[in-house]
């Protein structure tokens, strides 16, 4: 053994270690950067700083991308840049809301199924039944039943993606349920609720956080597809999906109407996928294949 290996390594706090592992993961940093850009674009869109997305100008119909209109204009002379940036906050809002619904219900359902074996079979068969439907098909059927609109779209996507998260939470809970520290908490008289909240969930969170990042990405893709089909927020409210749908009729003469919102979707989902992959590598090394 050489002398150098015996030298004391300065101890780092686990939290600092995690942060430095995150910062040294290239994909994670790029993904987080893209998310920051999205949030900034969302704020700009929300405050209307990117111009009026609804302003009609017949003099400037079908203007190609130029210095004045960076992404060009559509058949009403509306700026595609303004519309894409304004659409960002809706996509973010829908994505975050779906993640919130999925997180709350997925964790609740998954934790109950994993912790109480008697309820496990019934709950998971219900989840299996929901997962038997192709996600977009289930979402459009629910959204159509509830009626077109932002809130109903969020509820539909939330119902669609909850079973997936519940399944992951359940697996994670099953993994720690019989650990010694859970046993000792039980012996010390802690209630089931307290054990789940204080001990089981914090130790099962890594795969859930990773999964929710992907749910965010799926929600953005699904929202775009649903808006494209006309089951989302109705026009003239700009969403990435309905801008692409409107541009379809002018594909030959004004392809930029559809190109830019599509790139915005791809860019955002790429960022979230990079973030999800990176978080998985850093938070849950067992799942990674490096």
């Amino acid at each position: 053994m050489t002398e150098s290996t015996l030298q004391a390594v300065p101890l780092e706090k686990p939290r600092n270690q995690l942060l430095s592992r995150m910062l040294s993961h290239r994909g994670l940093v790029i993904g987080a950067g893209i998310l920051v850009v999205m949030v900034l674009a969302g704020i700009v869109g929300l405050l209307g700083l990117a111009g009026d997305a609804l302003k009609i100008s017949y003099q400037s119909r079908f203007v190609e991308p130029s210095a004045e209109f960076v992404f060009g204009t559509d058949h009403y002379g509306r700026s595609i840049f303004s519309r894409v940036v304004t659409g960002t906050h809706l996509s973010l809002l829908i994505g975050i809301s779906v993640v919130a619904i999925t997180a709350v219900f997925g964790v609740l359902i998954g934790a109950i199924a994993g912790y109480f074996p008697r309820l496990d079979g019934l709950i998971m068969r219900c989840m299996d039944a929901l997962m038997a439907f192709p996600p977009i098909m289930l979402a459009i059927a629910i959204a159509a039943a509830l009626g077109a609109g932002l809130l109903n779209l969020i509820v539909a996507l939330g119902i669609t993606y909850t079973p997936r998260t519940a399944r992951i939470v359940r697996a994670a809970v099953l993994g720690v349920r019989n650990s010694e520290y859970i046993e000792s908490a039980r012996l010390s008289g802690a209630s089931d609720g307290r054990i789940i909240v204080k001990h089981v969930l914090p130790n099962s969170m890594a795969p859930v956080i990773v999964d929710l990042t992907f749910v965010f990405a799926y929600a953005i893709l699904a929202e775009a597809a649903l808006s494209f089909l006309g089951v989302g927020p109705p026009p003239p409210v700009p969403t990435w999906g309905n801008i692409i749908a409107e541009g379809r009729d002018y594909l030959v003469d004004a392809p930029w109407i559809s190109i830019f919102p599509g790139l915005a979707i791809g860019f955002s989902v790429l960022g979230l996928n990079l973030l999800g992959d990176g978080l998985r590598d850093v938070l849950d090394p067992r799942l990674t294949s490096k």
């Binding site: 038997a132 439907f133 192709p134 059927a141 629910i142 039943a145 494209f228 594909l251 599509g262 979707i265």
Partner: protein, 314 residues
Amino acid sequence: MIEVILRRLISTIPVLIGVSLITFGLIHIIPGDPAIVIAGPDASVDQVESIRQLLGLDRPLHIQMSVWYMNLLQGDLGNSFMLGRSVLQAIQERLPTTLLLTAYSIVITMPLGIAAGLLAAYRQNTWVDTAVMSVALLGVSVPSFWLSIMGILVFSVMLGWLPSSGYVPPSEGILACLQSLTLPAFSLAVFQIGLLARMTRATTLEVLRQDFIRTARAKGLAEWKTVAKHALSNVMIPIITVVGLLVNVAIAGAVVIEQIFVLPGVGQLVVQGILRRDYPVIQGSILAVALILVLINLIVDLLYAYLDPRLRND
């Protein structure tokens, strides 16, 4: 083996019950009076009442449910308002198109996705790995409906190689049929190839870490033999289970893609049903698709049990 098959068959029953219950419940989550919503804002009182009677919404819930299950067991999915005939008939006409599109996209996906994943795994941490995985990541990030519009722009409008829409049934010529489905199938396949490549890479790396691979290498076996004889067979078995997931993804994608390319499939039927508030059509179509997916997953699982010697010889 027989026990595995039986256990798997029995586990399908509660899923089927759940799927049928969810489909039945769909009409009851409509806020307010479903009959008024379905009839539309301009409908008269008589029209609303006739829809209520047609769908049996005037009867108590438990009667509605028993009628629904009785009809379902006889293969009766009700009648479509917009098509004026049985939903089952409409689905039967349109299912082949969707299944053909799905199958075509999976035939494209399997070799490309597996090859890309294997290549990336064997060249792990090299530029080849980075390049292949970056493309795969792009594949799972770009929405397939946007990709298909871009495909129309490039391959139909600019190059004139492929038709931009329309469907030629196989009875009018296999080649023309494949040509009409090529652009839609590739649009669907891009996402799936990315997904499969990422999964294949992860599975392969897992297998390459196993002791038996180290033993094979240690005893001096040629690298290609190690890969072909020992690694590949162990990679392929878990990959088979992914087929179920790929079909699920493909059918979900087909809902939108069929709309873009005006393909007369089940996806288009669902969307038309939604736009016309034709609930028997919506219920029937998503039930049919879910049943097919349950069946495909069952077949895949049984195939998996058959191929895995540990389960087969058990």
